[in-house]
Symmetry: C2
Subunit: 348 residues, 2 copies
């Protein structure tokens, strides 16, 4: 698998690339001084920025390409015409063992298409999923799928649960994560057949998790489980609804503090504590959605993230590499499906 | 349809029935002095409570039954054994024209099953949906389905859009409500075939709404549209995720104010404004989920609601009656499907 602590960076993805990418990588380097970077993108734009970040420059190698996948490139177009783009080359570096993971702030659909095409899924995984972290009243939880698969079958959900539990173990350090299947009620008979089938499988199999059965939408922010498993449609809606609601509350709070002189004075006194509150809900802390279920670690930073957020996405990639996510996933899938992958089970 | 301003009440539904039901009805009576109530339940429990609410007593008639449907009664059991329960009799009062609407804080599944059985759906409606109100940064929006139908087809979603628009018009007074279909992206090609089919229908038909196409989870709290249309699975998850996230933010805020003496002093100064903020997000304000698509108006109050919340649910029922929801729905369905309902179109 090549150098385990080399990260491939798509320097040209995201709203303010390559500046944010390099500054973010430098923040991650401070936290993990032994990491190295393989940077793909426009050398003419990258070199002067690296000159201002000498410590990052000393741990980086730049591979020039003038091609890039833009934010409005369709996945199909990325596959047809993107082979010499910074994103594609960075993903290829993982396939070729030059790097242990890749981080990009580029277009999500294109990154998923390119990653699936270049890296493929390992034995036992039918489809990759997008996982992310959310704040909860008890800390944080992982949720997947956040949008890669609009429709999922029972086997997909079982695989998501296994990969999500491993992700939670590797990134959050939880030995035996609790896992819940998102549904419209906690009773065993709720939901559709796909969900009931997945719950039956997860209850029966001896899997490396503490399966808690069905959970509901309010259990996500309540932190009832460490890992929330759902299809990509529901996961995407739940994530965006949670983000939007947190923004709504913040907006209402701001208006309240502006509504009277007394309230403004109160704000001035409490602002230190309120700044900490903002920090707890800061979306940059939760930046770094991970594509699970590929032959390699792919982390997607939000396209509008700043250097702090991008640095967090790089740290997620580093944690997954250092803590052996790939090796763990392969051995869990081997355990789950034995000699034959689920494809074989379905085909045969 | 009988007396338009008589409301049938299931006095025995909810955690603190019949007290909350009667006190809530009295709050609604203050706002709408010309309303009358037909109260179903245990006379021995109701009469002494009414004695303390003389103005409500003067506008109420009590129909005794000692049977009730409990919070853990399964819908199938409610249909088999609930025919003399307070819930069933209250719904029957609407069918028989004795009341224009029914309000219950009882078990949602049982209330939906009984309402469907007793009231049936009007021509043009395949399945009833549950609609509710949510706070947004621009005021409030209606969302449906909140959980009656785990899976929906294209025609269900089109009908939900029409009924939701009418509900928004009648309850919020919006002449031409904006309507959005909840999806994982705003582009026309996103989502599954059911959603794309519904969007095509809603774009093509000349319907009494301003159809805005697809919206995403964050558009719900942002108030992008007046009416959010989705299947019952997604709607239930989105609603509960939003409620849970608002609670999470409130909890974090509380902790912040307790974290230092300065912050506590700030809280004391700002508490008037913060109380108003709590009011804006108060779930009691949004109490009263409505079953749309039945031959009669059925409003479900939260089982744990207090009298203020139950009173709001009664006011929703009154608004729908006064503003002609039933007449509007029948004429819209006639316009949408002409002589034949969608059942006929499918069957033929």
């Amino acid at each position: 698998m090549g150098d385990r602590l080399t990260i491939a960076l798509d320097a040209m993805g995201g709203d303010r690339a390559p500046e944010i990418v390099l500054r973010g990588a430098d923040i991650a380097r401070e936290r993990y001084p032994d990491v190295r970077f393989l940077i793909f993108g426009d050398e003419a734009a990258i070199t002067p920025l690296l000159a201002a970040l000498p410590r990052l420059r000393d741990r980086s190698e730049v591979r020039h390409t003038s091609d890039r996948i833009t934010s409005d490139t369709k996945p199909s177009a990325a596959l047809r015409t993107g082979r010499t783009s910074s994103m594609w080359l960075a993903v290829e570096a993982v396939r070729d063992g030059l790097a242990g993971s890749v981080v990009s702030a580029g277009n999500t659909g294109a990154l998923m298409a390119v990653s699936k095409f270049v890296l493929r899924t390992p034995k036992g995984v039918d489809r990759p999923a997008i996982a992310g972290m959310l704040p909860t009243s008890r800390g944080e939880c992982a949720m997947l799928d956040l949008g890669a698969n609009v429709e999922c079958d029972t086997e997909n959900l079982v695989q998501f649960a296994v990969m999500g539990a491993l992700f939670s173990k590797v990134v959050l350090g939880i030995e035996r994560p609790t896992v819940g299947l998102l549904n419209v009620g906690a009773e065993e008979l709720k939901g559709n057949e796909t969900l009931r089938g997945a719950a039956a499988r997860l209850r029966a199999d001896d899997l490396p998790m503490d399966f808690k059965g069905f959970i509901e939408g309010n259990d996500i922010p309540a932190g009832t489980v460490d890992v929330v498993v759902t299809d990509g449609f529901t996961g995407n809606v739940a994530l965006k609804t949670a983000e939007g609601t947190a923004q709504l509350c913040a907006g209402f709070l701001k208006e309240s503090f502006k509504s009277s002189l007394l309230a403004m004075a109160g704000y001035l006194l409490a602002r230190g504590a309120l700044r900490k509150l903002r920090g707890r809900l800061d979306p940059r802390r939760y930046n770094g959605a991970v594509f699970l279920g590929l032959n390699g670690i792919v982390v997607k930073s939000h396209g509008g993230s700043d250097d702090f957020g991008f640095g967090n996405a790089v740290c997620v990639a580093i944690d997954m590499q250092r803590n052996g996510f790939m090796e763990g996933m392969r051995s869990e899938m081997e355990r789950l499906y034995g000699g034959s992958g689920p494809q074989a089970a379905v085909a045969g």
